[in-house]
Symmetry: C2
Subunit: 113 residues, 2 copies
């Protein structure tokens, strides 16, 4: 049975206050979500980062903190930077293919004129 | 004058031990580097993440933690995920241009045959 406490308060073994900073973003049915951000940032840093934002932006911040925590857990050396490096490589490869295709077009147009 | 303590120990106002986990990656001439990772992850989390890696991988982990901390400070809602989103957009745009160029080539080849 899931208690009324949010995942963070369950993890931290504390009462979940009515104005809990974590509760809207860490529901009790997803304990892994809080465990991940806790492991990388710590509860107090996550709370502070959420508190510094207006309410309507906190859900997105919690999502991106969770994403980054998961990447860091999966790749403790590079974290999100590993993802960013692979995307830069992909852009480079695609731009090379595009340059080659445009050269082919220029050559065909050269022959055609 | 820069003291012999590393940037982390200066920041934390403590003695810098000879086997300091931070010293190789947070030199005293760059106090901002430690201030940034401290702000996002906290000193104990950074120390733990470095300690869990073999020595030869710690410098890269410190670099990527610093990069991610800087992105989160600059963009408290999206952090590195903002960078990743923009790179995905760039890949999509480049792939669209490539598809268009290849269509042009196919059309030219169709006319030529």
């Amino acid at each position: 049975m899931i208690s009324g406490r949010c995942a963070a308060c369950r993890y931290l073994r504390r009462r979940c206050p009515s104005d809990c900073i974590f509760a809207p973003y860490f529901p009790p049915n997803n304990p892994q979500r809080f465990a991940s951000v806790h492991r990388i940032y710590g509860a107090s840093n996550v709370a502070r980062m959420l508190q510094q934002l207006p309410f309507y932006l906190r859900a997105q911040a919690a999502d991106t903190l969770y994403y980054e925590a998961e990447r860091r857990i999966g790749d403790p050396i590079y974290g999100c930077v590993g993802v960013i490096s692979r995307l830069h490589e992909k852009i480079y490869e695609t731009e090379c293919e595009l340059a080659k295709a445009r050269t082919d077009i220029a050559l065909v147009n050269g022959f055609a004129s």
